[in-house]
């Protein structure tokens, strides 16, 4: 008998990376599609991309950029938010404004990890600096998130999480959801609700939030 486990309904970091690979990045191809009918455009399941011509910038999904890059068929332009100056400003903002998060792309950690792992040379001489900055931004944000979780004391009907990334959401999900679910069950309940709450099986032990640091 197969039973639904709590873990079956969680996203793994690998799965979040799969989603993040749909994000678009700028590449500069060094080949030509030589498709005169379609004007060098490429029509694949994910959509129509191109034109692919040497030295002409085009937007493609990250998975495609990484695939072409691996075969030395293109150069990847790192997204604008990954410029060192930009990240320094974000880090400054994260440190100076403890009550709010800086706006970063929803998939910022996944995109950064993929580029740092598979396309190091896209950053030229800035690689180490950019890597450090992203790691530091993530660290400062993680501390803020953990401080924020301490504020969680009751079954609120809704909690807004402004400007968190998907990886960060996924990290706090088990703890956050379990706490709120538990708080809610402890509320004085009307009979109808009480029945619903009792029918629900007790959730098992949940894993602690995952650490996201991986070898880069």
């Amino acid at each position: 008998m197969v039973h639904l486990q709590e873990t079956d309904l969680l996203f793994t970091p690998a799965e979040l990376e799969f989603f993040a690979e749909d994000e678009e990045v700028e590449i500069v191809p060094n080949f030509q599609l030589q498709d005169l009918v379609n004007d060098d455009m490429l029509n694949i399941a994910a959509g129509t991309y191109g034109p692919f011509r040497p030295s002409s910038i085009t937007q493609v999904p990250l998975w495609m950029a990484l695939m072409l890059h691996k075969r030395r068929k293109c150069r990847i332009n790192p997204p604008a938010w990954m410029a060192a100056a930009q990240l320094e400003a974000v880090l400054e903002g994260e440190r100076n404004r403890p009550e709010k998060f800086q706006a970063l792309p929803f998939h910022y950690q996944e995109v950064a990890h993929l580029l740092f792992t598979h396309a190091k040379d896209s950053f030229g001489g800035d690689l180490v600096q950019v890597q450090d900055l992203v790691a530091e931004v993530a660290r400062v944000r993680r501390n803020k998130i953990q401080a924020g979780l301490r504020e969680l004391q009751s079954a609120l009907s809704a909690v807004k999480l402004l400007d968190l990334g998907y990886m960060e959401v996924n990290q706090i999900r088990p703890f956050f959801k379990a706490s709120l679910d538990r708080f809610f069950r402890l509320l004085p309940l009307d009979p109808e609700r009480q029945e619903a709450a009792e029918a629900e099986p007790t959730p098992g032990q949940r894993p602690p939030p995952r650490q996201l640091r991986r070898g880069t």
Binding site: L4, E24, A45, A46, W81, A196
Partner: protein, 241 residues
């Protein structure tokens, strides 16, 4: 709701998971700010359907039209893949096409499998609810019935037939004392879920009494109880994350 092609609904076919809160606020060009080129949004829709299905506590409506469209897309791309040119560039195109296909197939499988998993879990409560049963695909409907039958038989053979007379029911704790079918796992609709708001919803009541309201604006990310946003999710104002 599929037919509802009004202004608000139109916007939803954009990539909601990546849409930043407010473009003008951002100090950089958003990664997903794609140009006006044509995009196959079916795959993005399927991804969202998959995430919704995985996060929602109950089994959601089967997205039949979407699945059919994606299946056709995959079939079409497979024929294109078959007649690739034998040139270096043709090889590159083949690789990109194949990779995109692999991703599409993965999404489709993940979506269908997640549904099967939940269908098995909530088998009895789905079979008991005609409205829910209506929202399954024909194959899922058949599967639910077969699963219920086989599992019931297995449990009976292994355990229940050895129990005292009144405790032999698959559906009731006690054949006589239980007034209703009371051992079926039912989804907890009050479970908290993570939600991304796709379009301004204004003030939304979070409980039946309407005492608590929350303002939901486009791009908001929040944690709330599933019951309160169930209808909004069905009408695609929201996306679970």
């Amino acid at each position: 709701m599929e037919e509802d092609a009004g202004g608000a609904m139109r916007r939803l076919s954009l990539s909601p998971l990546t849409a930043p809160r407010n473009n003008s606020q951002l100090p950089f060009t958003p990664v997903a700010a794609s140009t006006e080129r044509e995009r196959s949004s079916d795959l993005l829709d399927l991804r969202n359907a998959y995430v919704n299905e995985k996060v929602a506590p109950e089994l959601l409506d089967y997205q039949g039209d979407l699945v059919t469209r994606v299946e056709e897309l995959i079939k079409h791309q497979e024929t294109l893949l078959a007649d690739a040119e034998q040139t270096p560039v043709g090889e590159l195109v083949r690789l990109m096409r194949a990779q995109s296909l692999t991703r599409a197939r993965y999404l489709l499988r993940a979506y269908l499998r997640t549904r099967l998993l939940k269908l098995e879990r909530f088998c009895v409560s789905v079979l008991n609810d005609p409205a829910k049963l209506d929202q399954l695909s024909p194959a899922e409907n058949q599967y639910a019935q077969d699963y219920f039958y086989e599992e019931g038989r297995g449990v009976k053979e292994a355990v229940l037939q050895h129990m005292p007379e009144n405790f032999q029911s698959v559906l009731k704790q006690h054949s006589k004392l239980s007034l209703e079918k009371d051992i079926m796992p039912a989804p907890n609709l009050d479970a908290y879920v993570f939600v991304r708001v796709l379009a301004d919803c204004g003030q939304v009541a979070m409980d039946a009494a309407g005492d608590e309201t929350v303002e939901l604006s486009e791009g908001d990310l929040l944690v709330t109880r599933y019951r309160g946003i169930r209808d909004l999710l069905r009408d695609k104002w929201l996306q679970l994350v």
